[in-house]
């Protein structure tokens, strides 16, 4: 098991490196011209050439990549093209804002969704199962901004219970912070819960079709006990994967939710950077998003390995 985990760690690091290559390739080698994009219509050949030299675009791509990668390992993400401030300085506060929102939503959504998913599987075909299924299907189909707008209308504009925009600032009180971020949190909870619930149910039902579950029923065990003691532990590893999918989703789904509620997170940061075509900012945000995604998937895989009873108790050699 230890070797498996070490292998997964190695693969994770390798993927991180690949992500850096892809982000660099995507931003530098694609035919768009950064200098042209910055100067826009008024570009003269001289000013273009001068800007290219200033940005170091004359150097070969490989050298630029190595310089860029070297900078990242020291925490240097370059300078914003728009206001010449270091990207890292602008990016990290936004990143923590996003993580705070994602964590707030995740802490509520994941336990609730997993238990409801198991419950739906246990009551397969009964009223609760059908209801949960249809509700989850509806929630999965609704775009984040639709849910967001409905919540703003219902909980903010009509009733005035919660603020409609998630304005947060540094040094904000905890109570105020929770009040401001509850609406975006609710949207994220609804969307992720629906996904996790559906996938947990499918996973547990997949295990329920195994012969040993039939044996457990034939022994005369009650349904609840079979689901909880026999099926769920064996579904644990896939459920962890399901959850990790959705945490990863939380990280990108947050982009739309941040736009709805005007929340100061990394998602809006990246969208703004893309619309201004501010290359270093986009690269920085993409690499941070990509790294967070890769790391979460890696942690989930390792947890799944650790939870797999067959890997935890390997058979003695030669047995």
């Amino acid at each position: 098991m230890t070797t498996l985990i070490l292998k997964r760690l190695g693969l994770g690091l390798f993927t991180l490196w690949l992500v850096s290559v892809l982000v660099f390739a995507g931003t530098e080698i694609l035919p768009g011209d950064v200098a042209g994009a910055i100067l826009g219509q008024n570009a003269t050949p001289e000013s273009l050439a001068a800007l290219r030299t200033q940005l170091g675009l004359d150097e070969p791509a490989l050298m630029r990549y190595l310089g860029w990668l070297g900078g990242i390992t020291h925490g240097d993400l370059g300078q914003s093209l728009a206001n010449h401030r270091p990207v890292a300085e602008l990016l990290w506060p936004r990143f923590w804002n996003t993580m705070a929102l994602a964590a707030y939503a995740g802490v509520i959504a994941i336990p609730l969704a997993v238990s409801l998913g198991i419950l739906a599987a246990a009551r397969r075909g009964r009223f609760f199962d059908r209801f949960a299924n249809i509700a989850a299907l509806a929630l999965v189909s609704l775009p984040e901004y639709f849910l967001g707008l409905l919540l703003i209308l219902g909980l903010s504009v009509r009733t005035g219970w919660l603020p409609s925009l998630a304005d947060t600032y540094e040094g904000m009180g905890l109570v105020d912070w929770f009040r401001a971020t509850t609406l975006p949190m609710l949207v994220l909870v609804m969307v992720t819960m629906a996904q996790i619930l559906r996938m947990t149910r499918t996973t547990v039902l997949g295990v329920m079709d195994q012969p040993y579950i039939e044996t457990a029923f034939l022994k005369g065990l009650r349904n609840g006990r079979v689901v909880l003691r026999h099926a769920t532990p064996n579904a644990a590893a896939p459920i962890v994967n399901v959850v990790s999918f959705n945490i990863a989703y939380l990280i990108t789904g947050v982009v739309l939710v941040e736009a709805v509620f005007n929340y100061n997170g990394l998602g809006r940061f990246m969208v703004d950077a893309v619309s201004k075509r501010d290359l270093p900012m986009v690269q920085g945000a993409a690499i941070v998003f990509g790294a967070a995604y890769v790391l979460l998937n890696m942690i989930a895989d390792i947890a799944a390995i650790a939870l797999n009873p067959r890997l935890r108790h390997p058979r003695a050699k030669g047995a």
Binding site: V140, L149, T202, V242, A248, V260, V271, A286
Partner: protein, 271 residues
Amino acid sequence: MNRIPLTAWIGLFLIGLNLVLFLFGPLLAPFGQEEIVGAPFDGPMPGHWLGFDQNGRDMLSRLLYGAQMSIGVSLGAVVLSFSIGIPLGFFAAIRGGWVDLALSRLVDTVMSIPVLISALVVLQALGSSLPVLIVTIACLDSTRVFRLARLVAQGINVMEYAEVARLRGEGLWWMIRKEILPNALPPLVAEFGMRFCFTFLFVAGLSYLGLGVQPPFADWGGMVRDNQQGILYGLYAPLFPAAAIALVTIGVNLVVDWMLAGRTIVQGDNR
């Protein structure tokens, strides 16, 4: 075919309705998509059943025009993505060896970054235009199609009848056309529905962020964005295009759910 449940009928109805809107939307629209015919955010009145948008354009007409753009772009992207993903997936599964390995590694790498992030990186480099949007989404999405097509084809390729065909000396093209494709069709059709849903929400999401379909074209995602401030005054204006988006995805999801019922493999994670 066994009995079709009510939910699937509702889904089929919604798909049919949207197909009509997609094909004939602009012909049905009483006003032009750019025509200013009233006051900004004015409420519904006879002749303007859904009221006006932020510039005083007829909401219903813009919704009808938007249907063609929103559905058309995603349909184009999904068709393109399947025409890239399926042949490559089948090819990788039948050939195996280093072709399979190289393609699968490449796909895994692209999939290790969230689609939205990759798409934003490409849009930053190339700017947002309709062809860029469709091709980018199709390429990113084809990785998911490739994975499923390869998996399904691998399963079929080891069946006895495929073995027999190979022993008969049938070529690669014949194998794909006569053995793999007919047997792989049901999961691929369900996947088509799911990918369409995802792509449709994705295009609308990009437009909502201001990075998808650009004005002056009416597009549902962009319309939600443009009308969003109306919600703060308790107006329903941004809810109409948002609900239109939701109806399409609900319709497709209901049908796909029915097609996949009884199967317990997790298919089509929407990432």
